[in-house]
């Protein structure tokens, strides 16, 4: 088997994976689209739901989802990246214990985060059911995932850069903005995509924290029902809600593509990556 032969074989065998991913998306879109597509029209995106969601639109849900996404990513990103930089570049020892803690916490069921959020943010801090409580709780939930992936990204940056920087008498932090973070930005982008995807996919957390009220949240302390919770309510709790659940899911799919693609580009824009 010549090298080129091995490459052709590998190309075909490995190629099954991305093609299968595309087919999987097609399955999901068709599965959801069959029931949902007829329900989606302009008013569906601008009106509030009536009859417990069986009619009317999902405007309040779009707003609630936007709120928790901005609050969630907004509050998780800065401390998450800072923690990852500390662990990868400055920590003296004991990082393995932190890494283990993060892995364990990334595996907690989301319903447990939901109950914690309700007890801590809604009751203890008095935010009540609100998009703020939802956003902060999901921020805590995605923090371990985000820190873990960003740290792994930084650790994988070639050591030559750090040695070259040190040889020029530069402290490590000088290299962050222009050398280390840009070099790690593909993995940081992936971490951001997964974190924002997780926020959009989450229902259990928000059921207990952001609430399920079908009114558009105008302030941080107002409750709101995110798209995933709306899909859950319609699909599982509200008799006859199946078609509207599918329609909402279809709208969410479009929202996911937009959000995650945006999230993927964010690191490049922020870090002004010069030529590798």
């Amino acid at each position: 088997m010549t090298p080129a032969g091995r490459d052709r074989l590998a190309g075909v065998l490995l190629g099954v994976a991305p093609v299968a991913a595309l087919m999987l998306v097609a399955l999901v879109v068709v599965g959801v689209g069959l029931d949902g597509a007829p329900e989606v029209h302009a008013a569906f995106l601008t009106e509030a739901p009536t009859q417990a969601g069986r009619s009317g639109g999902i405007a309040p849900m779009l707003a609630a989802t936007a709120w928790v996404l901005v609050i969630g990513i907004g509050t998780a990103l800065p401390p998450g990246l800072a923690a990852a930089v500390y662990l990868a570049e400055f920590a003296q020892g004991g990082t393995r214990m932190v890494r283990v803690a993060l892995d364990v916490l990334a595996a907690l069921p989301s319903v447990v985060y939901g109950l914690f959020g309700m007890a801590f943010f809604c009751e203890l801090l008095g935010f009540g059911w609100s998009v703020l409580a939802g956003g902060l709780t999901v921020a805590i939930m995605i923090l371990p995932l985000f820190v873990r992936l960003c740290e792994a990204a930084l650790v994988a940056v070639p050591a030559d850069y750090r040695a070259a920087g040190a040889a020029l008498g530069l402290p490590r932090w000088r290299l962050l903005g222009r050398v280390l973070l840009p070099a790690a930005s593909p993995s940081i982008a992936a971490a951001l995509v997964l974190a924002s995807g997780r926020v959009l996919a989450e229902s259990a957390v928000f059921l207990f924290t952001a609430g399920a009220s079908t009114r558009t949240p105008h302030g941080l302390l107002e409750p709101g029902r995110v798209l995933a919770v709306h899909i859950y309510q319609l699909a599982v709790e509200v008799p006859g809600g199946g078609a509207r659940a599918a329609a909402t899911a279809l709208v969410l799919l479009v929202g996911i593509v937009a959000t995650t693609s945006g999230a993927a580009l964010l690191p490049q824009l922020l870090l002004r990556r010069t030529a590798a």
Binding site: Q92, A163, A164, A166, A167, L168, G169, L170, R178, A275
Partner: protein, 255 residues
Amino acid sequence: MSAGPSAVELRAVSVRYGDHVAVDRADLVAPAGVITALVGPSGSGKSSLLFAVNRLHDLDRSVTVTGDLRLGALDLAKAPGDALRTRIGLVFQRPAPFPMSILENVTFALRAHGAPRSELPGRAEHALRRAALWDEVQDRLTRPAASLSGGQQQRLCLARALALEPEALLLDEPCSALDPRSTALIEDTLLGLRGSTTVLLVTHNLAQARRVASRCVCLWPAPGGGRVTDAGPIDRVFEAPATRELADYFRGATG
């Protein structure tokens, strides 16, 4: 930045990776403004000793360095790591340009150490000229450093180090991966530094050592760690080495 070149003096310096001893109580003197070659077969601890001088081992906690290290009057063990590395430059065996443009590679460290923005273009041009790279890059300074050839990248790294006008410059087999023309250009640069910068050059290329260096220190591998077996003016060391192994080593290389 610095008054003038200072001598690098090591007394009984040992380098240990955990329990493995790389260098065993080595003495080395690199007189101010002079080019000293550090030669010896691989595994004699040449690079380990070189990296002890500018304390690059600080990056790796499993390495311990003992003994007395001085740059002129400065005790290298006590000086703050970053500050001393602005006074001792280092060029690696494998070129490692930053993922930035050619110009930024040179000015990044200068800017970070507080050089006023206005001075940067001038000092960058001066450094690039000293590294014999200016003519080849002056019209594409904003192109990424990665677009340069291997030899050009190494000269860029040399320019980057010289830009800080260090008192001493350490080079770890800088030309082992380069073409003869780039090697010749780097050797001319080093010769140009005589009188202004103390140079300590680790090299396998004994002919290069004869061409460039005026003093030579020989390290020889031993079970207890690399030891200095000879040191002195390069001609005396090459013609009448202190040990038979060195004689065979020199004859093998130049015979």
